[in-house]
């Protein structure tokens, strides 16, 4: 079963935990069981692809808090919320908590597996996105300080002449840095460079 997604089931009820684990294993998933959100946070690894199946009523840690702390830990595992209340206040609470999916207990196999599949798809998307940005970051790290300086001004739409004036060098030198940076970042047009800068969060207004 190596390679199958790992579903992290968080529920304080051992009976329910065991039953869901059994179902998910029968459906071909790997399962890790946690009694509480705290226990999960002790080792929030998202290395193994998968998602979290979380019982909403966890008095020690509610869903929203768990989500925040996972993000802090850089964990992108999506959460499927389960609740025993099935009433409007708890549904609203779950949606506000950022639930991607919200299920009421008792939940049938079909909706449960469908929700898990959607979560896994989200995980894959997030994972791919994160991998791409990681590639761009490593390209960016190859730029020299001068090249990075020139690149940041280029994506902000400055002309070579303006850049040369700003950093106190000749226009020809700016051209050379610019060419070299574009080469390292494997882009040919200024538009593509702007797109990379934006995805890496480099276009935020500067404090100066």
């Amino acid at each position: 079963m190596i390679g199958a997604p790992l579903i992290r089931v968080v529920d304080d009820d051992s009976l329910f935990r065991a039953a869901v684990a059994r179902l998910l294993r029968a459906a071909g998933y790997q399962v890790a069981l946690y009694e509480s959100g705290d226990q999960l946070l002790q080792n929030p690894s998202d290395v193994d692809p998968g998602c979290i199946l979380l019982d909403m009523r966890m008095s020690d840690l509610d869903g929203l808090e768990l989500q925040d702390r996972l993000k802090e830990a850089g964990c992108i595992l999506p959460i499927v919320f389960l609740t025993g209340y099935g009433d409007i206040p708890s549904s609203v609470k779950a949606i506000k908590a950022g639930a991607d999916d919200f299920l009421s207990k008792p939940v049938a196999k079909g909706p449960l597996l469908a929700a898990i599949d959607r979560a896994l798809a989200r995980y894959s998307a997030l994972r791919a996105d994160r991998d791409r940005i990681g590639g761009l970051r490593s390209h960016l790290s190859e730029l020299t300080t001068r090249e990075l300086e020139v690149f940041l001004l280029v994506v902000r739409g400055k002309l070579n002449k303006e850049i040369a004036f700003e950093i106190g060098t000749s226009e020809r030198t700016v051209k050379a840095h610019r060419h070299s940076a574009m080469k390292k970042l494997k882009v040919r047009s200024v538009a593509a460079a702007v797109s990379i800068a934006e995805r890496l969060g480099m276009l935020k207004p500067q404090s100066d």
């Binding site: 009820d13 009976l15 329910f16 065991a18 039953a19 869901v20 059994r22 179902l23 029968a26 459906a27 009523r57 008095s59 389960l82 609740t83 025993g84 209340y85 099935g86 009433d87 009421s104 207990k105 008792p106 939940v107 049938a108 196999k109 449960l112």
Partner: protein, 616 residues
């Protein structure tokens, strides 16, 4: 002044003395035939002694003498008796002689010239047929009596028609013998109807014996016994009294003197009327009227009179009495005797009955009202429980969805497993076991929850361990506590705390207090939310339960107010939870109160008497 007074007194006395002297008493001699004590003459003379002075204008000087000899044999020398009378009364200047009975009359008439030639004579109480009217001089008159003995017997037979024997009780003196002769003749025509027994020639003892041995349907005709065959005389009503006491047969008589003394009754001679008439005539003679001018009709038997007691004794219906009969001596009815006491008693009894009835009615009403109010209290308690159940329903539903969710997942898994080839039967078995466990848990949750919804019309008193009620309360509350992020704990004493109450009621008290505590903690940081239920022995006969919260506490001045009905600080509270907790605790002989904790929060405590005191 003194001499004048004294002389006036003397003059007054002289006047009085002279007045007395002028009204000289009239001397009257009563001459008896048989001595003074023989009925019915004795009654006559007794009445006459009273009547005469009453009717007479002046004072009467009454002498009495009896010739007595009438009791004895007829032929005897009357000389000494005449001399005796002369010696006594010849010089008395008698104004009137009243003879009583035939023997005295005849004796006087025989010796009148010798004894009292000029004294007027009034013949009294003598049968008309014994008075020779033609012999009477101008100086003599009579107030006679006519006794129709046939009427007496007719009456007897009318009243007791079944009578076959009539015993005639009479003495054996000469006069009595005369009457026996007269009556035998008189009763002759009745011989075919009734048998007469003549008891005149009997001794007193024999008489009583004969009367005692009379055949059935006999009656006694009592005509007074003066002298029996042995010559023994009987005064007053001695014989009548004895016959009556013996009670062998009904007794009939003819003189009203015997009426009320044992005779049944019938037409009677009125002794008092004769006496009054005699006194009247005597007064007129004493007043100077010529005796022969005064004519009076002889007295006869009067209207029939009957003695009610005798009628009852001999079973004679009043309807059988002749028309116009007078019935005397009626036994006064209880009503007549005790009219007012009876009336008063009746009124008192009635009043009492009314009061008792009213009180019973009131008591009934009160009982009905008490029952109703008890019912209402139970209803309110039940209502409060359903409110608590409502408050807990969300958490209970979640609690219930856990095993249901497990069952669902297990069933789905089993389906998947069974579809595989080969199916994993071992795991399916494991799943079925888990389904059973989950199902049991769901059943437990429902059972606990349904305790709250149980409607009861009567209190179900039972002995139980209070620890169990606390465990139940914790069980029911745990889901709610978890939902609200409250830690709930209960210390448990090792020894059983046996109390006598309705377990559901005590569970309700614990839930009310705990839910109240939970509500008080909604504004408290999650880490600090804590409810604990603690038990402790308070003395050897009481247990104290405390429900401690870490909420906001209670304003000091409202520590007592919180138990009042409809006191609430919550937007959706009914204000009944604590009030009902108090009602329940007090109903089982306990006490409930609230305190604030120094470290924050409130504690509600209640005590309950232990059904089995715990020895310390």
């Amino acid at each position: 002044m003194r001499p004048v007074c004294a002389s006036a007194l003397v003059a007054f006395f002289l006047l009085v003395m002279s007045g007395v002297a002028t009204a000289a008493p009239k001397r009257v001699l009563l001459l008896h035939s048989f001595g003074q004590e023989f009925a019915p003459f004795s009654e006559f003379s007794a009445a006459f002694r009273k009547d005469l002075p009453q009717q007479s204008a002046g004072p009467i000087d009454l002498y009495e003498a009896s010739i007595e000899t009438a009791r004895f044999r007829d032929s005897q020398d009357e000389g000494p008796l005449v001399q005796y009378l002369r010696a006594l009364f010849a010089d008395r200047n008698l104004d009137l002689i009243v003879t009583i009975g035939d023997p005295a009359t005849h004796l006087l008439q025989r010796y009148r010239a010798q004894l009292f030639p000029s004294t007027p004579v009034l013949i009294a109480a003598t049968e008309q047929r014994l008075i020779d009217a033609e012999v009477l001089s101008a100086n003599e008159t009579s107030v006679g009596v006519t006794i129709n003995f046939d009427r007496v017997v007719d009456n007897l037979l009318a009243v007791l028609p079944e009578t076959t024997t009539v015993a005639v009780v009479i003495g054996n003196s000469p006069l009595e013998r005369y009457w026996v002769g007269e009556l035998r003749k008189l009763f002759e025509p009745l011989a075919n109807r009734v048998h007469f027994l003549w008891f005149n020639e009997l001794s007193h003892k024999e008489l009583l014996e004969r009367v005692a041995s009379l055949p059935p349907h006999s009656a006694v005709l009592y005509l007074d016994v003066w002298v029996d065959v042995d010559g023994i005389s009987y005064e007053h009503d001695k014989v009548l009294t004895e016959l009556h006491a013996q009670g062998d047969a009904p007794i009939f008589g003819y003189v009203d003197g015997n009426f009320g003394r044992g005779i049944v009754g019938g037409p009677l001679l009125s002794v008092s009327a004769i006496s009054r008439r005699t006194a009247e005539v005597a007064t007129r003679i004493l007043g100077g009227q010529t005796p022969s001018d005064i004519k009076t009709l002889p007295f006869g038997l009067g209207a029939p009179e009957f003695d009610a007691r005798e009628l009852q004794r001999w079973n004679i219906a009043e309807s059988r009495l002749p028309a116009g009969s007078i019935v005397e001596f009626r036994e006064p009815t209880i009503w007549a005797k005790y009219r007012w006491p009876l009336l008063l008693t009746a009124v008192v009894l009635l009043a009492q009955a009314v009061i008792i009835g009213w009180l019973l009615f009131e008591r009934r009403r009160r009982r009905v009202a008490e029952l109703e109010s008890r019912q209402r209290v139970l209803e309110v308690i039940h209502l409060n429980r359903t409110v608590a159940a409502g408050a807990l329903s969300a958490s209970i539903a979640h609690e219930l969805n856990q095993p249901l969710g497990a069952v669902q997942s297990n069933a789905d898994t089993a389906e998947l497993l069974l579809a595989g080839s080969p199916p994993d039967i071992d795991q399916v078995k494991e799943i079925l076991g888990d389904i059973r466990v989950a199902n049991q848990r769901a059943a437990d949750i429902i059972q606990h929850f349904s305790m709250l919804l149980r409607r009861q019309s009567e209190v179900d008193l039972q002995r139980f361990d209070l620890n169990e009620a606390i465990a139940d309360a914790v069980r029911i509350l745990s889901a709610e506590a978890k939902k609200r992020g409250i830690s709930l704990e209960a210390n448990k004493l090792r020894q059983p705390l046996t109390v006598r109450a309705d377990q559901v009621h005590l569970l309700q008290v614990l839930l009310n207090l705990a839910l109240n505590g939970m509500d008080a903690m909604s504004g408290v940081a999650p880490d600090l939310r804590k409810i604990s239920i603690q038990t402790a022995l308070a003395g050897e006969a009481k247990v104290e339960v405390s429900v401690v919260d870490s909420g906001v506490g209670i304003p000091k001045e409202q520590l007592k107010e919180v138990f009042k009905s409809f006191y609430t600080t919550k937007q959706h509270g009914t204000g009944l939870g604590l009030s009902i907790a108090r009602t329940i605790v007090e109903a089982y002989g306990g006490r409930i109160w609230a305190e604030n904790r120094t470290e924050g929060g409130a504690v509600f405590r209640f005590t309950l008497p232990l059904a089995e005191p715990y020895p310390i």
